[in-house]
C-alpha cells in the first residue's frame, strides 16, 4: 500500500478539515497555556514557607491547604476543555501538630525543598529519584507520586514546571520526528520498534510529521500487533501511540502536543468494555485527579474508532470470544453513564447502553476469532475508509 491516506480515506480528510475549521473558530477561546517562569515557581514555594514561618512566629501550628483532587464534587465539565477543577473547591487541611497528618506535612515540605533546588539550578529529577533519596520518609513511590501532583495543584504549577519528571509508560511509532530538549533527534518511523514517549514533553521541539491521523491504542498487546502487521506503513502516514492502559501524564501530554501541533484527527482503539471506555474518556476529557491541569492534558476532539459494542453484533464476533459483564463492569458502566460529559456524546451513550443491554464485553483480540489479521487488514482500514468512528 503506502498510498496517501487522503485519497484512499476521504472521510479522514473531511474530518481533518472540519476539525481545523473548529480550531480556527474557537481559537479565541482556547486557553493558551501560560508559561510559568522559574522565578514564579520559586516565589510560590517561598510564599508557602513564609506562611509556615509566620504561623510559628505566632505560636500557631502551621497548616497546609490542599485542593481535594479525588472528589467529583470539585470538578465541572466544559465541552471545550473536559473535566476541570472548580474554583472554590473543597480543600484538605494538612496539620503539623497532629500525629495523623504530620508525616504528610513533612513529606510535602521535603519535596518542596527538592523542587526548589531543582528549579533554582535548572536541573531535573524523576519522581523515582526523589523516592529513593529518602525511602524511609516516603514509604512508597506512590506517596511521592501523589504528593508531587498535590504540590502541582497547590502551587497551580504544571508538574513539568516543577522540574520533576516521570518515567513515561507510553510508546509511539509512525510518521513523526522531533527533537528533545537536550538536542537528541527522535525518529519514530522505525517499522519494527517503537520509541518510548519522552519524559520531558515540554522540551520537545521541531516536530515534523505528515501524519493524517493519530491512533491511540489502549493496550500494549494491540500496539505490538499493529507494529508486527506494519500498520503504520499500510496506513501511512499516521502515528500510533499507547500508554499501556490507564494513561500516564506524559502520554496524555504527548497526545495533546500532537493535537496542538498537527490538528489531525485523533482516534481511540480500545476494548469494548467499561475499562477501555473509561481510558478513552481520560484521554478525551481528563481525570478528576488531574482536573487542575485539564487545559494542557485533555483532547476533546478524540473520536471513538473501535471496538464498538455495535461492531460485535455487526461483525458477528463469535460468542465464545465474548465475555459476560461482571458486577464491577456493570457498576463502572453505570458510573460512566452518569458522567457529565456523556450528555454531549449521544452516540457514545447509545453504544454504552447497547453494552448494558447485551451484558457482554470483548477485547480487540476477539476480532482474531474472525480471522487472524482481521484487525489490521479489514477492520481498521474499513473503519477509517468509511468513517466508522463516533
Amino acid at each position: 500500500m503506502g498510498s496517501d491516506v487522503a485519497e484512499l480515506f476521504p472521510e479522514i480528510e473531511k474530518l481533518r478539515v472540519q476539525l481545523l475549521h473548529n480550531v480556527e473558530v474557537t481559537a479565541d477561546f482556547r486557553r493558551v497555556e501560560e508559561e510559568i517562569s522559574h522565578q514564579e515557581v520559586l516565589t510560590r514555594i517561598e510564599n508557602i514557607i513564609l506562611g509556615i514561618v509566620t504561623s510559628l512566629s505566632k505560636d500557631e501550628a502551621p497548616v497546609l491547604t490542599l485542593p481535594n483532587r479525588s472528589s467529583w464534587a470539585n470538578v465541572s465539565f466544559d465541552s471545550a476543555i473536559g473535566l476541570q477543577m472548580s474554583s472554590g473547591s473543597d480543600v484538605t487541611a494538612v496539620r503539623s501538630d497532629c500525629a495523623s497528618s504530620v508525616t504528610k506535612f513533612a513529606q510535602i515540605l521535603k519535596i518542596l525543598s527538592v523542587i526548589y533546588r531543582l528549579v533554582q539550578s535548572n536541573s531535573y529529577a524523576t519522581k523515582r529519584d526523589i523516592y529513593y533519596n529518602n525511602t524511609q520518609l516516603f514509604g512508597s513511590q506512590n506517596t511521592v507520586d501523589h504528593i508531587v501532583d498535590d504540590i502541582s495543584c497547590m502551587l497551580k504549577v504544571p508538574r513539568r514546571s516543577l522540574h520533576v519528571l516521570a518515567t513515561s509508560k507510553g510508546l509511539i511509532s509512525g510518521d513523526l520526528c522531533y527533537m528533545e530538549e537536550d538536542g537528541t533527534r527522535i525518529d519514530c518511523r522505525s517499522n519494527s520498534a517503537a520509541v518510548a514517549v519522552s519524559p520531558n514533553i515540554g522540551g520537545i521541539r521541531n516536530i515534523v510529521s505528515s501524519a493524517k491521523f493519530v491512533l491511540i491504542v489502549e493496550k500494549d498487546a494491540t500496539f505490538q500487533r499493529l507494529l508486527d502487521d506494519d500498520f503504520c506503513s499500510k496506513l501511512s502516514p499516521c502515528i500510533i501511540i499507547t500508554a499501556k492502559g490507564v494513561p500516564d501524564v506524559n502520554s496524555r501530554l504527548m497526545v495533546r502536543k500532537l493535537w496542538d501541533t498537527l490538528h489531525i484527527p485523533i482516534f481511540a482503539l480500545v476494548d469494548a468494555d467499561p475499562h477501555g471506555i473509561e481510558i478513552m474518556c481520560i484521554y478525551k476529557y481528563g481525570s478528576v485527579a488531574m482536573s487542575f491541569e485539564a487545559h494542557s492534558l485533555t483532547v476533546p476532539s478524540v473520536m471513538w474508532l473501535g471496538l464498538l459494542p455495535s461492531d460485535l453484533r455487526r461483525l458477528r464476533v463469535p460468542e465464545d470470544a465474548l465475555i459476560p459483564l461482571t458486577k464491577t463492569d456493570e457498576n463502572k458502566l453505570n458510573s460512566l453513564l452518569q458522567r457529565p460529559y456523556l450528555s454531549s456524546q449521544p452516540d457514545w451513550q447509545k453504544e454504552m447502553e447497547l453494552m448494558q443491554q447485551s451484558k457482554v464485553k470483548a477485547e480487540i483480540q476477539s476480532l482474531a476469532a474472525i480471522a487472524p489479521d482481521f484487525l489490521t487488514s479489514i477492520y481498521l482500514p474499513n473503519k477509517l475508509r468509511y468513517g466508522g468512528w463516533i
Binding site: L42, T43, I45, E46, I49, L50, I52, V53, T54, L56, S57, D59, E60, A61, P62, S96, D97, C98, A99, V102, T103, F105, A106, Q107, L109, K110, L112, S113, Y116, R117, Q120, L137
Partner: protein
C-alpha cells in the same frame, strides 16, 4: 485499732448493701481518736461517726444488738468506751453532714499499747476507703496530748464506674501530679480514667477457709492518669510521672451465709488469707493483671508513638524550611522570615523555628468527653463527676 475501724466500716457497708444504699450517696465519715487520762492509765478512745445518705436506714438502737453479737469478732482487744467524744467535734461534723446516724466508740484501756505506726495504717486505710467511696467525705482527727492532727481525705474529681451485676462504684480519680510549667492552662487532664477489667473466678485453697465456699471471684480495675507523658527526647521535654492504680474487687457469695456475722467473718477471713488465695490462682491473676496493664498502657504507648512521629517529622519540616530560606536569593523573602521570628540570621532562625515548632506540637492534649482539663476549686457540691461506661 485500724482493724477495729475496718470492722466498723465493714459492718456499715454490709448493712448498706442489704438496704440497697446507692453508691453515690454522699455524707461524711469521721474517725476520731483521742486520749483520756484516767485514774491509773491513759486510755485511747476511738469514735466512728457517720452522717448523711450513706448511713441512711441505720438506727443505733437496732444496731446495738448487732454490735453486741459481733463484739467479740469486731472488738476483741477493745472495750466499750465510757467517755464521749468532744461535743464540739461532733457538732462541727453534724453541721456539715446532718444528724448522726452512726456513732460508735471503743477504747483501748492502756494507750501505751498503742503503736504510732497504727496512725499510719489508719490513715492509709481511710485513704483507700475514700478512694473507692468518693461520695463519702472522710475525716481523721487525732487528739493526743493536747495536740490535734487532722486530715480530710478530699476528693476533687469523682468517677462513677458501672459494674456488671454489681452496684456501681464511686472512685476518687483526682490527679495529684502537677503539670510541668510549660504546659498551657487547660491542657492537662486533672483526673484519672477507670478502665473496667475482666472478672475471673478464684479458687480458695482449702486451708484458707473453715468451710466450703462457692463462687469467689475477682474483678480487676485499673485507674490511670491520662496526662500526657513524654519520655526524655531530643527536644528536652521534662518527663512526667504517671500513676496507675490497680483495684482488685473481690466478690464472694455463699448460699449458706445469711447472717451478718457470717458475712463479716467470711470477709475478714478472705482478707486475712488474700495472699494465699491469690497465690493459689497465680496464673489466672497474673494473666488478668497483665491484660489490664496492657490495656491501661495502650493509650500511653500510643501517645509515645505519636510523639515520636511528631518529633521526627518536625526535624524534616525544619530542615526543609531552612534549606529553602538559606538557598533563596530573594532578599524580601529572607528578610520577611527573619523579621517574623525576630532573628538576625538563618542560624538563629533555625533555633527559633525549632523552639516554636516544639511548643506547638508538644504536650498535645486532645480532651475526650471524659477528661478533666479545668482546674477544680474545692467547693461543696462542686466536684466534677465523670461517668464512665
Amino acid at each position: 485499732m485500724s482493724r477495729e475501724i475496718q470492722q466498723v466500716l465493714r459492718l456499715v457497708m454490709l448493712l448498706g448493701k442489704q438496704r440497697g444504699v446507692r453508691v453515690q450517696a454522699a455524707g461524711g465519715l469521721l474517725v476520731l481518736l483521742w486520749t483520756k487520762t484516767g485514774a491509773a492509765v491513759q486510755s485511747l478512745n476511738c469514735t466512728v461517726a457517720g452522717a448523711g445518705p450513706w448511713c441512711k436506714g441505720i438506727k443505733m438502737k437496732t444496731l446495738e444488738p448487732v454490735l453486741t453479737d459481733l463484739k467479740e469478732s469486731m472488738f476483741p482487744r477493745m472495750s466499750p468506751c465510757p467517755s464521749v467524744p468532744d461535743p464540739e467535734e461532733l457538732c462541727a461534723f453534724t453541721d456539715l453532714y446532718g444528724s448522726l446516724r452512726l456513732l460508735l466508740s471503743f477504747q483501748m484501756r492502756d494507750s501505751r499499747l498503742f503503736i504510732p505506726e497504727w496512725c499510719v495504717r489508719i490513715e492509709e486505710f481511710l485513704r483507700m476507703f475514700s478512694l473507692v467511696n468518693a461520695g463519702i467525705k472522710t475525716q481523721l482527727k487525732l487528739q493526743f496530748s493536747q495536740q490535734t492532727f487532722q486530715q480530710e481525705f478530699r476528693v476533687k474529681i469523682k468517677s462513677k464506674v458501672a459494674r456488671a451485676k454489681q452496684p456501681s462504684l464511686m472512685l476518687d480519680v483526682t490527679c495529684r501530679t502537677q503539670p510541668p510549667e510549660c504546659v498551657k492552662k487547660g491542657c492537662w487532664c486533672q483526673g484519672g480514667h477507670p478502665l473496667c477489667g475482666s472478672r475471673l473466678p478464684l479458687s480458695i485453697p482449702p486451708e484458707a477457709m473453715e468451710r466450703d465456699h462457692v463462687n469467689s471471684g475477682a474483678t480487676v480495675y485499673t485507674a490511670k492518669q491520662e496526662n500526657l507523658q513524654d519520655s526524655e527526647q531530643e527536644l528536652s521535654l521534662p518527663s512526667v510521672q504517671q500513676t496507675l492504680l490497680l483495684f482488685l474487687f473481690l466478690q464472694h457469695s455463699d448460699p449458706f451465709t445469711c447472717h451478718l456475722s457470717d458475712s463479716m467473718a467470711t470477709e475478714a477471713l478472705i482478707e486475712h488469707h488474700l495472699e494465699g488465695i491469690l497465690s493459689n490462682n497465680r496464673q489466672a491473676v497474673t494473666t488478668a493483671l497483665q491484660t489490664e496493664l496492657k490495656n491501661a498502657l495502650k493509650g500511653l504507648n500510643r501517645g509515645k508513638k505519636n510523639h515520636e512521629k511528631l518529633r521526627s517529622a518536625a526535624e524534616v519540616i525544619l530542615s526543609s524550611s531552612i534549606s529553602i530560606v538559606s538557598c533563596s536569593s530573594n532578599l524580601d523573602f529572607r528578610n520577611a522570615c527573619l523579621s517574623s521570628m525576630k532573628v538576625r540570621d538563618t542560624h538563629e532562625l533555625s533555633a527559633s523555628l525549632r523552639e516554636s515548632l516544639r511548643r506547638v506540637t508538644s504536650w498535645k492534649f486532645i480532651p475526650r468527653g471524659k477528661c478533666y482539663p479545668t482546674q477544680v476549686e474545692e467547693q461543696e457540691g462542686d466536684e466534677p463527676t465523670g461517668r464512665e461506661i
